[in-house]
Symmetry: C3
Subunit: 185 residues, 3 copies
């Protein structure tokens, strides 16, 4: 019988995307500024950009958000990241325009090869298309794309792609009914 | 086809309930005292009261609890809020007497109008009646009332009212069996 | 009808396992060092050991992990605890060798007697056997044993024992399919 042996874990292929000093700088900045209870939206967006994030206008990063690698975050215009949301972006996380990630939502790009006794790291990008809303406490797994305007209800666990224009929910998360947007006033 | 446009989001109707300086004071106090690992139950209760909370006797607010607006929190006697519980009370959260909110539970009074391209804010109160217990990691959505003595099991997701005297669970959370209390010793 | 009365809660039987000063020391150390964004794996392992934890080699405790009582934590070799994992070990938490507890997972050894109007504390140990993996956001309740090499999928809620060598998921969490490990390279 095979035995898991985490002492053999190594990821020679995994590129962290930033040097040690850049990563340490980010950790310090994150602790000092991103754990602050104050808004500082523009300052935080500027810092994320200076560390490699590609962010559109009006990027709102609420207090106590965790982002692993700024250099693997892309967002369009008018995106919001809620308090205590966790963007574990070992791989790219891409948000379209007008995307809302609510409080304590968890976007997780990392996993492990469950057949590998050495627990090899797997990472796959996550894409949240224009107008989609990831509600509070929802979990989005690696490789998932959430379609345009789709809503992932609070506490849902998403491991597969979801189509556009749907309200989805559950564990596993599935489409429940269409999202109908009325005319703008 | 309608398009979500978060740049048009505004809430002229939403009353935050405290002035800017009061809110800033609360954010600073919360960061300094409520993130502390030490108990300070009486001090925390006094500060919450001085900022507008209505709290009964023996209010226990464990470390690392997040409360959004003290002025929208009401609790009876002998209520406990567990570590890392999140009371997102844009609207009133009302706890009866002898209510326990366990660790990492999330009481969320806020949502958005899913049909509105401008993503209008919705907020509805949450009421947890006497003797009810919201277990660890449970999520309670806007507008929900949890009946007297009812238990919401760990990790449950509640979006509709739950009746009194039941043990409930699941996602969505439903009543499973009666809660029977034995005679007090 | 019986009434819950939390003012009568007391746990004369519950032994916190450390004196007041030891516990206060741990709270201060935890706040200063375990909330730090930097790795400090060896230092953290040494401190946990000096406060009574029994840890094997290569113990990796990532930033922002919450451990309630170091003196009720046992782990074999090559164990990993992910960021924001919460080890609420009022009772013993025992990890075998090569166990991975992922980000925001919650191992909860505490509960309450739901029939007791005074809400008596219940605590039962949790055991995670060799090679098992508790994925992100999963919840493990009191008294649970997770079998050797078994995987608890992200966001699952586990309240009963799980057998070895299975991939499990859901709320409640159940075995879904065997975990097959290939030969080590």
């Amino acid at each position: 019988m095979q035995t898991v042996d985490l002492s053999k874990f190594e990821n020679p292929i995994f590129d962290r995307g930033g040097g040690r000093s850049k990563e340490a700088l980010w950790l310090a900045v994150r602790q000092l500024l991103f754990q602050s209870p104050f808004k500082n939206y523009r300052l935080k967006a500027s810092l994320l950009r200076s560390l490699g994030a590609t962010l559109g206008t009006a990027f709102v990063c609420k207090p106590r958000v965790q982002i692993t690698f700024p250099w693997r975050l892309r967002a369009g215009n008018n995106c919001w990241i809620g308090e205590e949301a966790y963007i574990l972006n070992l791989d790219h996380v891409t948000l379209g325009n007008n995307v809302c990630i609510s409080q304590r939502a968890f976007l997780c790009t990392g996993s492990h090869d469950t057949t590998d006794p050495h627990f090899g790291l797997i990472h796959q990008p996550i894409t949240i298309e224009d107008g989609a809303w990831i509600c509070a406490n929802a979990f989005i797994g690696p490789g998932v794309t959430i379609g345009r305007n789709t809503i992932v209800s609070a506490g849902s666990v998403v491991t597969k792609d979801l189509p556009p224009d749907m309200i989805c929910g559950g564990q596993p998360c599935v489409p429940i009914k269409p999202r109908v947007l009325r005319d703008a006033p």
